[in-house]
Symmetry: C2
């Protein structure tokens, strides 16, 4: 099956675009670690149907990322922030206190993570 | 028809989720200012079909925003940044130079706008 870590990351950004049924199946498989057979039984369907559904969800999540790039942008924002803070510490010509640098770091983190 | 300004904002965030055909129609109507009749002629269809298509796109754009809130988050980020910079200027206990504050402002702006 597809890469669990990648799917879990994509779900962080695009889960709201899945249907409730898709979301349930994805959570059972990737968060609750149920087997395809167990999920199939709970949904009164076949193991193959669940397998296909997960494959379709994965394709949808990848397609959303290709179009909107929310995951890529998130990691780019984090990396820009880290470089900015690192440079602030390195070329500290204004003699910023550690507290202030930490405050700037936290504020940017808050802006990224809303 | 729907609010042009709101649609234009929603298009900034969700245009990649529209089909190429939908995108064409929306651009003709909202950016190139063509009339429904003109768009209908160019697409070899009826004025009513174009009207319905624009209505459907608008509904889709609104639904994406309800689910992902990218527009809301963008404006929230901008407002958090402005408050942060304002407070940095107000309680300037570290005697930050104007240049440095401007640099912090620009870096956060870059992080928001990638």
């Amino acid at each position: 099956m597809e890469d669990r870590f990648e799917i879990s990351e994509l779900m962080d950004f695009y889960a709201p675009l899945l249907t409730e049924k898709q979301l349930n199946i994805m959570n059972m498989y990737f968060n609750d670690d149920l087997s395809l057979a167990e999920i199939a039984e709970l949904n009164h369907t076949s193991r193959q149907a669940i397998h296909d559904s997960i494959k379709r969800c994965y394709k949808q999540l990848r397609s959303h990322e290709d179009k909107l790039r929310l995951k890529e942008k998130y990691f780019k924002r984090e990396s820009l922030k880290e470089n900015f803070i690192k440079n602030l510490k390195k070329n500290n010509t204004d003699n910023l206190s550690n507290e202030l640098i930490e405050q700037i770091n936290k504020s940017i983190e808050e802006i990224i993570n809303i």
